[in-house]
Amino acid sequence: MERLIKKYSKKLVEHGLCNEGSPLIGGLEVELIWNKKDPSRKILEKVINSLNITSILFAEPAEPYFSILNYLSFKANELTIHPKDCETRTFLHDIPVSLKFEANSIIKILKNRKSVIIPKHGIITIGTISPEQTFIVYSSVCFALFVKFFDDYYYSITSNNINEQQKTIFNQTIDYYKNFISKIKKVSSTNNISLKKEDEVIKSIIKTGKLTVDCLMVDSFFGNISYKLKKSIYISQTGSSLDELIGCIDKCPINQSSCAAITASSEFSAHKDIYLNTKNKAILHGHPKFCVIMSLLCRKNNCKFKGQCHIKCPEKRYAKDIPIVSGEVGTGIFGLYRTLPPAIKNKRGVIVYGHGLFIADKYSLENTFNNLIDIETMCLNLYLEKVKENNAI
């Protein structure tokens, strides 16, 4: 427990989600242990002792998340925020707000949700099994709030209803993000030679996975990565962190003669169909923020699928050369394994509505990584252009 608490309080800082010293994590085995002394412990102790859980996390998020959190939670109706991204829809359902940093109000909310945000204080998340859950949920909440802010911002611009606070946060965040993305180093070219040996493949997956996380192109443990070698797909396991893939890569025979890869990523079917129908050998999937934001920007009025964009969007939408398709996680009737593989033919990548970016390459994972950075930069610029266009009107 102690090890996990340390690990995730460190990870929150490394991922740019919290400032050094901010995360307070408590873990309950027989006794309750904390990673540090903190005046908030009294309230959180009451919370953890009132719930049947093993871990709790409280932290003020780093900027720009904290400003965004404060802005969105102060204007929330019914004290609940409803982001439209896929992680919220699937796993969080919504993000509740407690106006008071007070045990009873927090307990009431956490009895039925994994997180609560408290304006001017931060985010509290809980885990039933491990502190890892508190980290994952925390990260998802930050991601969802970020995406929602920019989606809302575009809406405010187009409806001519923008306020000063929004503008300030917008400018600060865009500066921050431009600076951040320009600093990401691409991988030097790999001469477009595909890999021939299993250990090369595994090494390459581990390395590219770590790169993707290190440059913050995927939040929490979402995202997946694979490579096809001979008659097998090597793919990251479900719920694995892309930066910790040692021992978490499943080898799946393409003819499915073994179910040992039942633990493979939920997007295994999508990866497999891409390999079966194209000449690609490498696939990388992450959640770059502006790819996700761009996919949400459709303000078509009178669309009969309004509110169902994530499953039923009938439009052929693009961000420049990158198609945007609907589809949910996994293999349901609206699963992205139906929409993604046909759309990615002869394309560098595809964005799935509200969810993230899939990139495929004929040779190497390094190429997919470089394309990830290119496409995210492109989406950021596209977003800024759209904002500018509408601002001018």
Partner: protein
């Protein structure tokens, strides 16, 4: 009343009479239904021997049964186990639960003993005791062939009639209430079958709200590779786990002397799929459909059966597994205990059981013939009889399922703490130790497992009481089911409030076992797991469990569960949970 019917049917077979019980709402509030409610009513007689006239055999549905809630087509059957002496319950699928609800009952409480063998036929509130002497000795399908198609039934086979301590009750034709010998309790009451038909409908408080919750649950299950992924249990049945257990070196082999079976890759779910071209089937109201029926209507084995009828007994033949499964099903006995008893027999006799012998021994057990007279008592009593107790791989006399605890330490603890004796389903730590849900935990440590197991036990107690399916919780959580519960019953609740009820239900089960003298010394594993390693490969090393760590973890568990150091309930905790208990 929404969700529940508010009525329980009490049948006294000695008098051939029946009455109606209408529990107070607070009993429903505290014990929900299914396993919780059945436990509440079992406790009143738990000190009776399993074969006493006063002993109850309980069939209980939950508030979600017979509603459009996902995977709600389940119910609980409960009594005291002839095999173990602890309580024994089984969450079972099929159509019976739905029909009991439609007939207007939340559950059946059966007491007494009939003089002659009978069938109980229930159509709504009309109850008939039918002489069934002519069905004595009939197999499950012979009994079913006497009924109109698609009848909802609970039947015992010859195994129960012949005193097999691990005999089952079979629902419809292929859902099994297994493990501790519920079939024998039913046989002792002289009931061959129960048939129920209902014409009513369970009322739902807010169907729109239910639709919203369903959508969330479907989205989560679609995102789960284990449930609906191409390699998952919807496509391959629970047998999808077979390769995984092999690759993790935790497949119990040669009566738990090893943990890897070299022939496993040729005996996996893929081989069954090729050979038997199975179609999907399952419980009503389920979209996962994990049961597999072959092209010639063979009922294909579940994971535990696949594993124990191959690796545990050294059998390399696929067909033999299917045939053995079929014999157990037709005779009505538990496949885990049957295979494990054969493995124990093989170890004691120091001989390999040939494939033909596997089948003939199963018949001997079910018909109580020859060596079957000893083996029908299960591996614990058989080994005791032969003076070789260490060959019985049991916890509280119940044979262990197909997850070697040396490969998953949470499983080791949960085998010991399970209130229905050696069982994997009370906490199902495979979920996080192997399947990585909701997140992965380190399978080779006891650290942190005490509380995780306690919480999981509470969770599964809720699941079995609502009732719904454990598998679904690889993906869904009580957050979504709190919404389902509200939509069905109209009673607002939260995930944590439900979990609190689960805690009460589980603790109540501890009090029942304590009343029958079970203490900490019974919460232990066979010595083999502490003495001998499993099979190691480069990928994973399977070492013996460290006894000191295991005992420390058990001690932590007692503290967290609110039991004293002897594993017994305390006044303080029972008062807190509102459970009856005298120190």
């Amino acid at each position: 009343m929404f969700g529940w019917t508010g009525k329980i049917l009490c049948l006294d077979l000695s008098k051939k009479q029946y009455t109606t019980l209408t529990p107070n709402q607070n009993i429903y509030d505290e014990y929900i239904g299914g396993r919780g409610l059945a436990g509440y009513y079992l406790k009143e007689v738990i000190k009776e021997p399993w074969d006493s006239e006063k002993m109850r055999l309980l069939f209980f549905t939950g508030p979600l049964t017979d509603t459009p809630s996902p995977t709600s087509g389940r119910m609980t059957i409960m009594s005291r186990s002839p095999l173990t002496g602890t309580l024994c319950d089984s969450s079972v699928g099929g159509t019976l639960g739905g029909q009991i609800k439609k007939a207007g009952w939340d559950g059946l409480i059966i007491t007494g003993k009939s003089q002659n063998m009978i069938g109980i036929e229930i159509i709504d509130s009309s109850i008939n005791f039918i002489d069934a002497s002519n069905l004595k000795g009939s197999t499950i399908s012979e009994v079913i062939s006497k009924f109109e198609k698609n009848s909802s039934t609970a039947i015992i086979g010859p195994a129960a009639e012949n005193g097999v301590l691990f005999s089952n009750i079979v629902l419809d034709s292929h859902h099994f209430a297994g493990r501790g010998g519920l079939g024998l309790v039913m046989a002792n009451k002289n009931i061959k079958y129960i048939k129920v038909k209902g014409t009513g409908k369970t009322s739902v408080f807010d169907i729109n709200e239910l639709r919203k919750a369903r959508e969330k649950i479907f989205r989560l299950t679609a995102a789960s590779p284990i449930l609906l992924g191409e390699l998952g249990i919807s496509n391959y049945g629970t047998g999808a786990l077979y390769d995984l257990m092999d690759s993790r070196n935790m497949m119990p082999t040669d009566n738990f002397k090893a943990t890897k079976f070299n022939y496993a890759p040729k005996l996996n779910a893929y081989q069954y799929k090729n050979k038997y071209e199975p179609k999907k089937t399952g419980c009503p109201g389920c979209h996962i459909l994990c049961k597999k029926i072959g092209k010639n209507n063979e009922i294909l084995p579940e994971f535990e059966t696949m594993s124990h009828f191959t690796a545990l007994i050294g059998n390399k033949d696929l067909d033999t597994v299917v045939k053995a499964n079929n014999i157990c099903n037709e005779m009505g006995m538990d496949t885990i205990s049957a295979a494990a008893t054969l493995a124990c027999y093989s170890e004691i006799k120091e001989k390999i059981i040939t494939k033909g012998k596997v089948l003939s021994l199963l018949y001997d057990i079910a018909l109580s013939k020859g060596i079957g007279k000893e083996l029908k008592l299960g591996s614990y009593r058989y080994a005791e009889l032969k003076g070789q107790e260490e060959a019985a791989m049991t916890v509280k006399k119940q044979e262990l399922p197909a997850y070697d605890p040396r490969g998953a330490y949470g499983m080791a603890l949960s085998y010991a703490t399970s209130t229905r004796s050696g069982c994997h389903l009370r906490a199902y730590p495979i979920s996080h130790e192997i399947l990585r849900k909701p997140v992965a935990t380190d399978r080779f440590t006891f650290n942190g497992k005490a509380r995780i197991i306690k919480i999981s036990e509470d969770l599964n107690a809720v699941i079995d009481s609502l009732t719904t399916c454990k598998f679904l919780f690889f993906a869904a959580t009580l957050e979504e089911y709190a919404q389902v519960f509200y939509a069905v019953t109209g009673i607002k609740t939260t995930a944590q409030d439900l979990l609190k009820k689960g805690e009460r239900i589980y603790y109540n089960e501890y009090t029942m076992n304590a009343l029958n003298g079970f203490t900490s010394k019974d919460n232990d594993l066979p010595k083999r797991f502490f003495k001998n390693p499993g099979t190691s490969t480069i990928e994973s090393k399977i070492k013996p469990l460290k006894r000191k760590d295991f005992l420390k973890c058990l001690k932590d568990y007692y503290k967290i569960r609110g039991l004293d150091k002897n594993g017994l309930p305390t006044k303080k905790e029972t008062e807190k949970l509102g459970i009856e208990w005298k120190d």
